[in-house]
Symmetry: C2
C-alpha cells in the first residue's frame, strides 16, 4: 500500500497524561519536561488545561506552566479550555491554540462536564467564536466516539452530529477520541469510511487509548485511510480512569518507534524523547508503561 | 476491506511462554493449566519441548506433562523437538504433531542451537522425514525472519531460503517468527508480498512478539494478506530473552479480544481463557503482561 511520507504527532501527555495520574507533578518538573519535549522535534504540545482546579487539581498550575515554559517558535502550544472563563485564562497566558471537548455519548458528556450535549453546544460555540476573534485556532476533541463506558457502542451518526456541530462553529481540526480504548481496526475502518465522506482527512486527527493494546493497530488502519495526525502521550502516561492500572494514551515513543521502523517521517528524535521520558518517570517514581520504556528500564 | 471470517490461534504459552520464564512452574500446575486451555475452544496447543533439560530446565518435565494431560479430541497437541532424540521422546509421548525450529540468521542459529544453518538442515530433514514416517505432521518454525539480535535486518531471500528447505523436507505449516519483536507492519507487508508468491497462505502462520508493542498491528496487516493462523501465548507469558522485562509473545487473550471486537471467529471463549490465565498467574505470583490481564488485575 501507499503509506504517508510524514506524520504529525500531537503530544498530549502534559494534559491528558498528567490529568489521569494520581500524583501531582510539581510545576517546575512540568516546565522542565515541556521544555525537553519542545526540543525533541515535536511540532505540537498540549501543555495543560485551564479547567477548575477543583475538578482536576493535577493541572491547577496551568497559568504558571504556560508562563514558565520556554517557547520554541517551531512548536504550537495548546491548552484545553472547558468554557469562557478557561478561554480568558488561556488568552491571558497567550497560548497558541485552544482545544475544546465534549462527548459523543450523552451520559459520558453528562458525567464528564456535568451538562447535556444540547447544553454543551452553546458553551463551546461561544468559546470557539471568541477564540477565533482573538486570532486563535481551535481544536475540537470528541470523546467516546468508538464506545462509551456507560452506554457501550455509540452510533456513528450520533458521533458525527457532534463533529458536524464543532466544525460548524469553526474548529480547524477534529480529534476523534477512543476514550476508553475499545476501538478495533475494523471499527476504525468502518467509521473512517463514513467520516471521510464528510470531512477532509487533513482536518481529522485520531486519539487512541491503548487500554486493550489495539492503539498501534488502529493507527496503522488510520494511516491506510490517509490520516496523518495522531495524538499521543509520552511513555503512555496517564492510564485510564475507567480501568485503573490499564494503559492510557498510545505512547508517543511507541508510535515514533513504529513509524521510524517504517521509514515514515515524524521529525521527532527518539533519543531526545527518551531523555524527556526520564524527567517525568523520575518525578512520578514509577515506570512509564510504554514498550520503549519497558525495554529501556529492563536494560538498566 | 474483506476480513477473514475465522482465525486459528495456536497457543504456544506452555512452550514458548514458559521457556522464557525464570521461575520453573511445577508439573502439576502445567498439567492443570493445559487441561484448562484444552477446554477454552483452542484447537492447537504446543504443550512442551523435548529439548535437553540442561538447556531449558523449565521444560525438563516434558514427558510427564504430555502423559499427564487429559487429551481433548478437538485439540491438536504439539511439542517442539530439536533432533532425533527429541523426536523419539515425542513419539513415545504420542504427541499429535511435532515442531522443528531453526533461524533465518546464521548467528542466531549458531547461538540458539549451536550449529551453523548448513549443519542444521540434515538434522531437521531426518526429524521431519522420520516424524512423517510415524504418521505425524510437522510444523516448521523459522526464527529471526524480521530481524536478528546479532545481525539486525535479515534479507528476505535469506529467510525464504530456509523456509524453502523446510517445505522441501515436508513440513505442512511454516511459522514465521519475529523472535525479538522488531517487525513493523510495513515490513510484514513487504515480506508477505514476496513470501505469498512462493507459499500458499493457508500454510503460513505468523509468530509475533510484542516487545515493541507492534504485534497486534502486524497481525492486522497479516489478516489483510489473508493469513489466518497466528501463534500466541496466554497472558503474554514469556518475555524476551534479549530484552528482559519487555513483553513476550503476543498475548492470546489480547488477540482473542481484538478479533472478538471485529466479529472474527476464533472459537475461543474469552472468559474461560481468563480462568486459564489465573492458573498460571497464580503459580508465577506475578502479573501477566497482557492488556486484558492488566485491566482484570486492576479491577480486583
Amino acid at each position: 500500500m501507499k503509506w504517508p511520507e510524514k506524520i504529525i504527532i500531537k503530544e498530549v501527555g502534559p494534559r491528558d497524561g498528567l490529568q489521569n495520574e494520581k500524583r501531582i507533578v510539581p510545576t517546575d518538573v512540568k516546565i522542565d519536561w515541556i521544555n525537553a519535549l519542545s526540543n525533541t522535534g515535536l511540532s505540537y504540545i498540549e501543555a495543560t488545561s485551564f479547567v477548575n482546579p477543583k475538578w482536576i487539581p493535577q493541572l491547577g498550575d496551568a497559568m504558571e506552566v504556560v508562563k514558565g515554559i520556554e517557547r520554541n517558535p517551531d512548536v504550537t502550544y495548546a491548552a484545553l479550555v472547558p468554557n469562557k472563563r478557561g478561554l480568558e485564562s488561556a488568552l491571558e497566558a497567550n497560548i497558541d491554540e485552544v482545544s475544546v471537548f465534549m462527548s459523543a455519548s450523552e451520559s459520558h458528556n453528562q458525567n464528564n462536564i456535568n451538562k447535556s450535549i444540547a447544553d454543551t453546544y452553546p458553551v463551546l460555540r461561544e468559546v470557539i467564536e471568541e477564540a477565533i476573534r482573538n486570532g486563535k485556532t481551535v481544536r475540537g476533541y470528541v470523546s467516546t466516539v468508538f464506545g462509551c463506558p456507560y452506554e457501550g457502542d455509540v452510533p456513528f451518526e450520533q458521533a458525527l452530529r457532534v463533529c458536524d456541530q464543532l466544525f460548524d462553529y469553526g474548529i480547524h481540526e477534529l480529534s476523534l477520541g477512543d476514550t476508553i480504548g475499545v476501538a478495533s481496526p475494523m471499527q476504525v475502518e468502518q467509521f473512517l469510511e463514513v467520516a471521510l465522506k464528510r470531512y477532509d482527512k487533513s482536518k481529522v486527527a485520531l486519539h487512541f487509548h491503548d487500554t486493550r493494546g489495539m492503539a498501534l493497530a488502529n493507527i496503522v488502519k488510520s494511516l491506510e485511510y490517509g490520516i496523518v495526525t495522531f495524538d499521543a502521550s509520552l511513555g503512555g502516561l496517564g492510564g485510564c480512569p475507567y480501568a485503573p492500572g490499564a494503559s492510557g494514551n498510545v505512547a508517543t515513543d511507541d508510535l515514533v518507534h513504529m513509524l521510524d521502523k517504517m521509514g515514515i517521517e515524524t521529525g521527532i528524535d527518539a533519543e531526545k524523547l527518551m531523555q524527556a521520558s526520564l524527567i517525568i518517570q523520575n518525578s512520578l517514581q514509577t515506570p512509564l508503561p510504554s514498550h520503549q520504556m519497558a525495554v529501556f528500564n529492563a536494560s538498566k
